[in-house]
Amino acid sequence: MSPEQVAPEYVAARRALLDVLELLEPQRAGLILVGAQAVYLRAPADGAQRAAYTTDGDLAIDPDLLSDDPDIGQVLVDAGYQRLGNPGAFLAPNGVEIDLMVPEGSVGTSSRRSAALPGQSRFTARRTAGLELALLDADTMRIAALEETDARVIELLVAGAAALAVAKLVKLEERLGGPRRDRILSKDAGDLLRLLRYCDAEVIGARLAELAVHEGAAPVIERSLSFLRTELAQPESNLVGLTVEDRGPNETDRQVADATRELGRRLLEAYRPRG
């Protein structure tokens, strides 16, 4: 991605992410990059006329790999990060929101939003549905700053395209079914389409079929794909409408709608779980 194509918000979000990863170096093995920053690493915007952007940094926590010490929430607070209302939500000194999330299926059931992790504060992380596959589908990538004056490069696990697609679908399902319209972001649908395009919808579908054999993976995959199937079956689909809303300047509504429907169909068709 050439520097002129990167939105300043995205540059700041990457800077904040690298700051957090430096602070949390002793616990880095238990962290996985998810969210939009992971999407843009998997579906790079090289050559794209429309600059990719995101304003936050999302990290999933693998409870099995996280040590009791240090308490990462406390480390952030001690470094000047401000706790926001929700557990796991922190505001970095440069104004970027950092979210620490534990996949819901990886910790015991609870009525609380916070995730109970040994040795960690209650405010450190929150449970989040849809991130379960990030623990299974991730590999190490080099994460570099997006500004020439910052030479930092940090290696971190980054969720794969299949895990990210499921996370986006679950997020969209929850928000479309929820009461707050302001929480529905067309950008999430745009990120989903971006993954289907850059990472090949059929490859994602086939990868999901491989992942479905892992314990706890099938329910979240089935849930997300059921949502996708239902949306594509509707002539006036909310999901398709959101991708159209997020379209770039050089595509028409019809083209984006057709692309979403066709690539979604290919993903579903390629998903053939064993047994």
Binding site: R197, N250, T252, R254, Q255
Partner: protein, 356 residues
């Protein structure tokens, strides 16, 4: 000795008569009388009159020679009963031979097709030669009426790219691997329209490169000459372009996008955003599959033309992307008209300024 000699060169009258006589000398078994000679008496109706004594027979052959190719049998002259009329040519097609025979001609051609027929004295010799002319006459060059064709576009681009100059048509054609006939016809058209400097048979020199490009664009069109099709891609226009370029299929970008790239390093920039990607590719069907293209004549952003010149007109690579040679960008944009033509003129002006 000679009665008439119309043409003394190879396959001329004399040569063909001599070769016919040689052929007659081989037509009868050794030991049989076989004497052939010119008759001294002049007869203006024939190119030659030969006296042929063969065995116990004596024939007088009235020979008419056809130097140029024979498409139809000539009328048999009123020869008088004493002469056997023989048509001699370098080659006689089958249909002509049949017609000659029906009209009572004997004939011979240099490939060996032979018929000597005489009732009195009775002589009948028939031998087969070639059915296809081994040395066909070159067809006269067809005059070019327009510059709309793909081949003509290659000649124009190569000529303009060459600074509007070429030493000879033959060398130019060889150097650019272009058909000699096409180069010759394009140059003739440019000369007839006073777009070349008069050099008295010397080198080819374009008077004004922009004028030639404009004249070319009057006839030519990227869309029509190459039957380009407009598509959209399920992948979106940018990823589609990236997939095509990285597919390994020879391709090159033209149009406004290419002009923007060309003008990038100049003080002026293309005053038009590149909303479409125009591409030449070597295999359109494969590109359609690789980039998930669907025809969209109204809103498509990717315009693909199939061509076979990319191995001759080598694309220029800039920032990892292949672009057509700049004079083709000029022609493609000029032919599109409107604001695109203005961008084409910008590129042409820059080329002329940098390579006067």
């Amino acid at each position: 000795m000679f009665h008439v000699v119309r043409n003394g060169s190879e396959n001329g009258t004399l040569d063909l008569v001599e070769r016919f006589m040689s052929a007659l000398r081989t037509m009868v078994p050794i030991g049989t009388l076989n004497r052939i000679q010119y008759e001294q008496a002049a007869d203006s109706r024939w190119d030659a009159v030969l006296a042929w004594d063969v065995g116990s027979a004596s024939l007088r052959l009235g020979v008419e020679v056809k130097i140029s190719s024979v498409k139809v049998a000539p009328q048999r002259p009123a020869a008088g009963s004493a002469l056997t009329p023989v048509l001699v040519a370098a080659f006689l097609p089958r249909a002509v031979r049949r017609e000659l025979e029906n009209q009572g001609w004997s004939y011979w051609d240099a490939t060996g097709n032979t018929l000597i027929q005489s009732e009195t004295p009775f002589v009948a010799i028939r031998l087969d030669g070639a059915d296809k002319d081994p040395d066909p006459e070159p067809r006269p060059p067809t005059k070019l009426r327009s510059l709309k064709g793909r081949a003509a576009s290659e000649v124009i681009v190569a000529l303009l790219q060459n600074g509007g100059r070429a030493s000879t048509i033959r060398d130019f054609a060889r150097e650019h691997r272009l058909p000699l006939g096409t180069v010759s016809r394009v140059v003739s058209l440019l000369r007839e329209e006073n777009l070349l400097e008069p050099t008295g048979g010397g080198p080819i020199v374009v008077t004004d490169r922009l004028d030639v490009a404009r004249r070319w664009a009057d006839d030519y069109s990227f869309i029509k000459s190459f039957r380009a099709r407009r598509y959209y891609s399920l992948n979106g226009p940018d990823l589609a372009l990236s997939k095509i370029v990285n597919s390994g299929i020879p391709c090159a970008i033209t149009g406004v996008r290419a002009a923007q790239n060309w003008l990038e390093d100049t003080p002026q920039s293309a005053g038009l955003p590149a909303t479409d990607s125009w591409l030449y590719v070597a295999d359109r069907a494969q590109v359609e599959r690789i980039a998930d293209l669907a025809v969209d004549a109204r809103d498509g952003q990717i315009v693909v033309a199939e061509c076979d010149f990319l191995d001759r007109e080598r694309p220029r690579v800039s920032n990892g992307l292949p672009y057509v040679t700049p004079w083709r960008i000029v022609g493609d944009l000029l032919s599109a008209g409107g604001r695109q033509a203005t961008v084409g003129e910008q590129v042409a002006d820059d080329l002329i300024r940098r390579w006067p």
